[in-house]
Symmetry: C2
Subunit: 257 residues, 2 copies
Amino acid sequence: MASGAAYSRFVDRKPHELLWRRLSRLAGLAEGALSDQERSMIRQTCAAPGEVPAGAALYVEGEPLKKPGVLLAGWACRLRLLSDGRRQIFDFLLPGDLFGHPLGPEPFATTSAVTLTTVSIAGTGCLWEMVREPDRFPGLVRALAVAQARQQAGLLDHVVRLGRQTAQERVAHLLLELGHRLDEIGFPLGTYVPLPLTQEVMADALGLSVVHVNRTLQQLKRDRLIETRATSVRLIDPVALATIADFRLPPGRPAGS
Amino acid sequence: MASGAAYSRFVDRKPHELLWRRLSRLAGLAEGALSDQERSMIRQTCAAPGEVPAGAALYVEGEPLKKPGVLLAGWACRLRLLSDGRRQIFDFLLPGDLFGHPLGPEPFATTSAVTLTTVSIAGTGCLWEMVREPDRFPGLVRALAVAQARQQAGLLDHVVRLGRQTAQERVAHLLLELGHRLDEIGFPLGTYVPLPLTQEVMADALGLSVVHVNRTLQQLKRDRLIETRATSVRLIDPVALATIADFRLPPGRPAGS
DNA sequence: CGGTTGGTTGACTGTGTTCAACGCATGTGG
DNA sequence: CCACATGCGTTGAACACAGTCAACCAACCG
């Protein structure tokens, strides 16, 4: 089931190799989906990564999206603030994820994005070329489109969580989603994997209070469904969790490839 | 403020003219954004509209999206069912809205879509051409991209409603969103506009129980914020509603055009 | 007519919130 | 090295918003 075990961890290798691997999978599962030109483009993009500290904004709601990028290491999230201070987190950006690309022809950010850990990013300039000259990079454009479609699908899952699931189901569902995404970048499902989220962050993502997230996590631990260490979790029984959460694997990812 | 008053109602005119008008606005606000070729394409698309009864599925989650279309009259919604029968509605399709277009290169529906009223649709075959030969219809492709970006933005609003707003705020926010979308197609904000939603449908959209939707609507009526008739509503005080709901107008729509 | 669909109301329950306090680790400056 | 502050997790008690269950009504329709 866990397909990522065969890969070394995303963060353990040279960034451009891993990014290439990931974009290839996104672009079409065939490893030859990207041209040599695109491959060198990726290398160039990763040449000078930048560091961003935790808690910094990658971009802000309403501002023009002028700096598309790739997350090479660390976590971030997309969110919106209400006028009275309430906060809603839409989704999380993990290593290998693209961000800051406009969806339509209107290049304005519909959310803000904030780093949750120290983060290493690449691509501020190079990826911009790609967006403006799509014909030269068909594989990359395809990978970008797939990534955006996935993000969209993730949003739909999130709506279901918030609209129709209980606290336990929400937490289980989110952990499974993150677990599977981490599995794809080299942290096998069922082992201890990084989860650099405070309970407050989880609360703001799941539409719950911090206190209730805390109690719900404790319940999952008591039921021997998960284990936690400092900033990592282990999903002890992903199948039982999936049953609780009504979790369905996203399509397009054959089990044994 | 209400910009739609200058237009006749979407459903009162010849479908292709109104669709052309709407797509022009989406494509770039300038009325000349669509070519003659595209205009005739639109006419051709609307030539043989089909009727679909209420409660029918336009497409089903997981199936390949082979029939893109346009809603010419009536309402529909996109939704997903949980395995135990719970239901979550993601958004609503109003006259003039496009549906069934794949987002990425993977042409599988991520939701189901169901009609809420009798519905008139067009484009099953013609729009498919457009998607396959985007170079011949640049304006239409642009309009489609803008429409999808808007739908995406609507989903973000929906996440905020479900995650961080109270029942009253949710109802007010949804009514405002629909009110503004109806305004765009010729039903001025502040007047009686059609709202063919049962309270159960609103409940499944807003993540509430039917009973609670009922009580919340009554409260809004008692506070003289809305009035309802058989299947229509009037937003008596949109400004007060917007304050309650922390509602922000989507950008890209100048106030007086 | 009786059946159905959608809306309304009341009483009761419960899931999740709020408020407040405390523990614990980490960091920092005197 | 200690005093203090800060961030995060944990716990308890009281409360409230919203859900559930059940009954009833009105309109519509075959």
